[in-house]
Amino acid sequence: MESPRVIGPLQSNRLSSRARSDERKLLQRLQNGDEQAFAELVDRYGAVMLRVAGLYVQSGAVAEDVVQETWMRVLTSLDRFEGRSSLRTWIFAILGNCARRRARREGRCVPLAAVDGDGPSVPAGRFFSRTHPRWARMWATPVDDWETVSDERLVAGETRERLREALDALPARCALVFVLRDAEGWSGDEVCELLGLTAANQRVLLHRARSRVRAAMEQYVEETSG
């Protein structure tokens, strides 16, 4: 259900054909036992894998175990990878299986379907009240379009720390959806499949995360302007 008219060049979701061809080369090297290729893959996906594993299991140490186990399974089943999905999809499917198995062993039940409510995307105080005679529930304060705010200022050093903090303050699954979709460039369908979410729930989580990140950026921009 992607709608390029609206999404435009913002989200080049799925792997591009170039990325696919890079992936094939990487796979070839991996099958030839090239350690550098393995290191590249680990550096590319390892941290996100750890995040995913962390959703299912209690401790960071166990999550690291799950990632270890996943890579071993990836290596030992390399010959059976048929390339019907992307390598990335395949690796994360194995990761999901390992993590769920471990969660069951820990007796943890992960309520993956529910998406609980959360506060508004923008504090109610930014809007006129619902009883205002002319402007009920409309913006009471201006909203800058950030046209004059450089990328440098939005994502460099200090802002980046703020964003990290905003992400860390979110429920793990919510932050993960944001990282996968907006930072890593996964498609909505891929994220739904990995995390067992409906499209609507995936959007709720994504929106919550984006809203928090936006608020953190806005605060930073306001503090540092003028």
């Binding site: 709608s3 008219r5 435009g8 006129f128 005679p133 002319r134 402007w135």
Partner: protein, 202 residues
């Protein structure tokens, strides 16, 4: 067929975020092709006829040529389109003049309003003064020049709507959802459209 389209600065689609190919000094611009079967607000190249322009006021106004028009209401949606020429009269000055004209109309409505709505219409007129300089309404302490004032075109789009809303309110004597409101709203929109047509020779 020929139609019009408002675009953000640099001939970028406000909603699609897609930059339209601009016409070279001589010859035709490249076509912008639809990304799927034309469908309102989803796929296809969107443009409108003159009488729908007010909803979409933006920084640049272009004449566009559409090919393969599949839908007409509420917007024209086509398989492809290309920019013919930028309407030269639509610039920041025109946007500011349009906003001022709309605000002035609200003051006139307020002066002519019956007692039951005079107070609200006067408040709308005061709001328009704030909105026209980029502040928010009902903000008595707003600075003369807000730090992050919207573009002149965004203010124009806003003032047009607010003035029509105020006119509808006046026509309906304060009740917001009856036929008189709609009639007042549309009458104001039609006054605004005449203004645009005259100013831009559309």
């Amino acid at each position: 067929m020929n139609a019009y389209k408002f675009l953000a600065a640099g001939a970028v689609g406000r909603f699609s975020d897609v930059p339209w190919p601009q016409p070279p000094l001589e010859g035709d611009a490249e076509w912008l092709e639809a990304d799927g079967p034309p469908e309102q607000c989803r796929h296809g190249v969107h443009a409108c006829e003159v009488d729908r322009l007010l909803d979409w006021i933006d920084e640049e106004l272009w004449e566009v040529e559409l090919d393969g028009v599949a839908e007409r209401e509420p917007l024209l949606v086509a398989a492809r389109g290309r920019l013919r020429r930028r309407v030269p009269g639509w610039d920041e000055d025109a946007a500011r003049d349009f906003a001022d004209a709309c605000a002035e109309r609200v003051r006139e409505h307020a002066a002519a309003a019956v007692d039951s709505v005079a107070k609200t219409l006067t408040a709308f007129a005061a709001d328009c003064r704030l909105l026209a300089r980029g502040a928010r309404p009902d903000a008595p302490d707003a600075p003369d020049v807000p730090a992050s004032a919207p573009a002149a075109a965004a203010i124009a789009a806003n003032l047009g709507f607010v003035a029509a809303h105020a006119a509808g309110f006046a026509a309906a004597s304060g009740s917001a959802d009856d036929e008189r409101y709609t009639a007042g709203f549309l009458a104001e929109r039609s006054w605004q459209l005449d203004w645009l047509r005259r100013r831009l020779a559309l």
